[in-house]
């Protein structure tokens, strides 16, 4: 899997985005901590001002004498063609487990759009999810497939957003369901991209 901040001097240093071998585009102005704990699926965009807190991961148990150091645990894993817009913070949630605060690895699926100025702390976000601007996804909430979170929503801690629903409000309530054609159409050459659909065209347009 790709390392986010791959060799800096691959291209001319003028461009805003560093493109990795798998097609991830990472802004030079993104703040990435603990990059060894972050997995990007390829063709994923991390925009300027994004905070990725990969350093917040479960501390590996100290290796016993003579054993090899365990490989790094993953703190954040992001799928393919996912877009994390500007000034969004992605912070793995933590919880009390057997009397100790531990961080839970966070999983974000494919073709997820996360709007600007959001705070993402959920346990998992499935594929084809649309998160609007200025949202707060509180710790340990679970966002299921093909759901839509309207702009300026606060998803309360521990809430499950079921597949195919539209949620909004502070705190978030289930307001409705996405249409049967959610994510269909668009995404083709020269067509506009649609929410919940294939985001490859959008990723391509980011320069």
């Amino acid at each position: 899997m790709s390392r986010p901040t791959a060799p800096v001097s691959r291209r001319s240093t003028k461009t805003e985005y560093i493109e990795t071998d798998t097609g991830n585009k990472i802004s030079r102005r993104a703040y990435i901590e603990g990059k060894q704990n972050i997995m990007l699926g390829g063709k994923t965009v991390i925009m300027a001002g994004v905070h990725l807190r990969g350093d917040l991961c479960r501390k590996p148990e100290p290796a016993a004498e003579g054993e090899k150091e365990k490989p790094n645990t993953t703190a954040i894993s992001i799928g393919r063609s996912t877009v994390v817009s500007t000034n969004t913070t992605v912070r793995p949630p933590m919880r009390l487990h057997k009397g100790q605060m531990t961080f839970i690895p966070m999983r974000i699926g494919d073709n997820v759009f996360i709007g600007p100025n959001s705070h993402i702390s959920s346990a998992s976000i499935s594929s084809h999810v649309y998160v609007g601007a200025n949202c707060v996804l509180s710790p340990l909430c679970i966002v299921k497939e093909s759901s839509k979170i309207l702009p300026n929503t606060v998803v309360p801690p521990g809430m499950t957003v079921p597949a195919g629903t539209v949620v909004g409000g502070k705190p978030a309530k289930i307001l409705g369901e996405v249409g049967d054609g959610w994510g269909q159409g668009g995404g083709g050459e020269g067509e506009e991209w649609v929410e919940g659909g294939d985001l490859r065209a959008l990723v391509r347009s980011v320069k």
Partner: protein
């Protein structure tokens, strides 16, 4: 109304077919002359109050391929595939829903004051634990339901649990003990029975009444004959007096009576109690301590609750997943896999795969317009307002999802309906759009701009002339602007009208002034466009032709098909 522009909404043509509005009485018509017709003679008015119930984004519409019609929530019927709890995502069998109501019976509870989910939290009672010997401390853990959003917890209603599982049972037990306890406190014959008890008593009473008056279903329970009704008839014919008749002759049938007394569920108003207490509480705690109507309606237990301190956690309401059926031909047009959380479809006939799709954008955009849903940066420029009386040109693109070349005819009223009349001209209202092909076909044509079909050649020509990129190229009347393999673009000229009415010499009456006053969203410029698509398709062998709009029907023969529908194109807001 839409908040982001440009937008396209499609009107389902069902409203003039299925539910024609009842002819309004002359009185009503004079008050509300907003006519709502979706027929070809009169233009569809997107500002009409009923238009909101007809306009849908394209991804919400389905298509019935038997009737060849667009289908919207008003012209499909839904049937429940399964019930599920949105919190624990477990499927609930329909028998359980019928028996226990539409609430999750697991440990899923919502906060009564803010509706977010409650979590079981362990609380440590330190002061007590310190007094105890340390080895006994294991047994006295207590749990509460806590809302992590607004910090409400069941401690506020003084409820805690001994174990973190079987919350529902514990909660019901506590509720029961509490309500029965309160009854003992009043301890008179006129004890205020709770709503639920009264309801249960009433149900019992009326069931008894019904049983007494109505003939029992099975008068001969011991017989091996399977149909009791038939058996009763046979016995009537051959057996002389039946069991029922004997019973009837013995006692006169009494008319059903109403409940009397508490045991039968009667409740009477008593003026003596509790009102003064409520008033005192209201005086001391104020308005903020009272419940809102949403809080009261969150669960039946909270229906009569007056103060937020008495709110009871409400069990999470179940949700359904539904299949859709065409109302007229009863065919299923959308059906998901019957599995919770799965978004895969078994059948899905989307309108966007059957009807030409429209999209509009400015001809010379000042800012690059993308889908406004995809704001990538917070500092996106504000949506520009349209200046009145300034001609602007837009490119209207029609995309064809069908595998046949489609002939498109566009029609629009010259001035938009509504308070603000804007002038609209479609420079080329009738043209053809090439067929959609396979994915690899698309990929080929996208890279080389050449396709073998007739539409493709034209497209290639158009793209060649277009690609010479004469920036001074002017849109001409009667000519299409751009053409690709399965899409055609034409230019639309729009002159936004003025929000202020034109000055007049004659002083206006009050009525006219009130009429001219703009209401919310009257400044939104929406252009109704009637799209008619015609194409020819081959009848597949073995397929029966039923549609009204088809003529002929032999296998292998060409059949003409057409669809027509209104589209409301949201352009923007007009500057005042």
């Amino acid at each position: 109304m839409t908040t982001s522009f440009p937008s396209t909404h499609y009107a389902c043509p069902c409203s003039d077919l299925t539910s024609a509005p009842p002819p309004p009485s002359s009185k009503r018509a004079s008050i509300q002359p907003t006519s709502f017709q979706v027929n070809e003679e009169q233009a569809f008015n997107p500002h009409s109050p009923r238009a909101d119930y007809t306009l849908y984004p394209l991804d919400h519409l389905l298509f019935c391929d038997e009737c060849d019609e667009i289908r919207c929530p008003r012209c499909w019927t839904e049937e429940v595939l399964y019930w599920y709890c949105p919190h624990c995502l477990f499927e609930v069998p329909s028998s359980a829903v019928k028996g226990d109501g539409n609430r999750c019976s697991r440990s899923c509870y919502d906060c009564p004051s803010c509706t977010s989910p409650l979590a079981v939290t362990q609380i440590s009672q330190r002061d007590e634990a310190l007094l105890r010997p340390s080895d006994a401390a294991g047994g006295n853990e207590t749990y509460v339901l806590q809302c992590h959003y607004c910090d409400w917890s069941t401690l506020e209603i003084n409820v805690h649990f001994n174990k973190p599982t079987k919350i529902t049972e514990q909660l019901v037990k506590q509720r029961k003990s509490r309500t029965s306890g309160s009854k003992e406190n009043v301890s008179s014959e006129k004890a205020a029975i709770t709503h639920d008890d009264a309801f249960a008593n009433l149900t019992n009473f009326y069931e008894d009444q019904l049983n007494e008056t109505v003939e029992p279903q099975n008068a001969y329970p011991g017989s091996p004959y399977s149909s009791p009704a038939n058996l009763a008839r046979i016995m009537n014919i051959y057996g002389g007096l039946s069991h029922n008749a004997l019973k009837k002759t013995r006692e006169k049938p009494q008319p059903m009576r109403e409940a009397r007394g508490h045991a039968e569920g009667q409740t009477s108003f008593s003026a003596n109690d509790s009102d003064t207490g409520i008033i005192q509480r209201l005086q001391s705690f104020g308005w903020d301590a009272t419940t809102t109507s949403e809080q009261c309606l969150s669960a039946p237990v909270n229906n009569d609750t007056r103060f937020t301190d008495d709110l009871w956690p409400s069990a999470t309401r179940l949700r359904t997943r539904r299949a859709k059926r065409c109302k007229s031909c009863r065919h299923i047009i959308a059906r998901q896999e019957p599995k919770v959380g799965s978004m895969r479809y078994k059948i899905r006939l989307l309108a966007m795969n059957y009807i030409p799709r429209l999209s509009i954008r400015p001809l010379n955009p000042t800012v690059t317009t993308t889908n406004p849903a995809f704001h990538l940066r917070p500092d996106m420029p504000e949506q520009e307002k349209l200046q009145p009386h300034q001609t602007k040109q837009y490119v209207l693109t029609i995309r064809n999802p069908l595998f046949e070349t489609v002939k498109i005819t566009l029609a629009t009223p010259t001035t938009t309906p509504g308070k603000v009349a804007s002038r609209v001209t479609i420079l080329c209202p009738s043209f053809t759009v090439g067929p959609a092909g396979e994915v690899w076909d698309e990929a080929l044509s996208a890279s080389t701009q050449s396709a073998s079909s007739d539409g493709g050649r034209k497209a290639a020509m158009a793209s060649l002339t277009g690609s010479s990129e004469s920036s001074d190229r002017q849109p001409e009347a009667g000519k299409i602007w751009e053409k690709t393999r399965n899409s055609t673009s034409v230019v639309v000229e729009i002159i936004p009208g003025s929000l202020r009415p034109p000055p007049s010499i004659v002083p206006k009456t009050e009525e006219e002034l009130a009429d001219a006053e703009l209401k919310e969203d009257d400044d939104v410029l929406e252009v109704p466009v009637y799209v008619r698509a015609e194409w020819e398709t081959e009848v597949k062998p073995g397929e029966t032709v039923q549609g009204r709009k088809e003529v002929g029907g032999m296998a292998g023969e060409k059949v003409r098909k057409e669809v027509g529908y209104w589209v409301a194109l949201g352009i923007g807001r007009i500057a005042g």
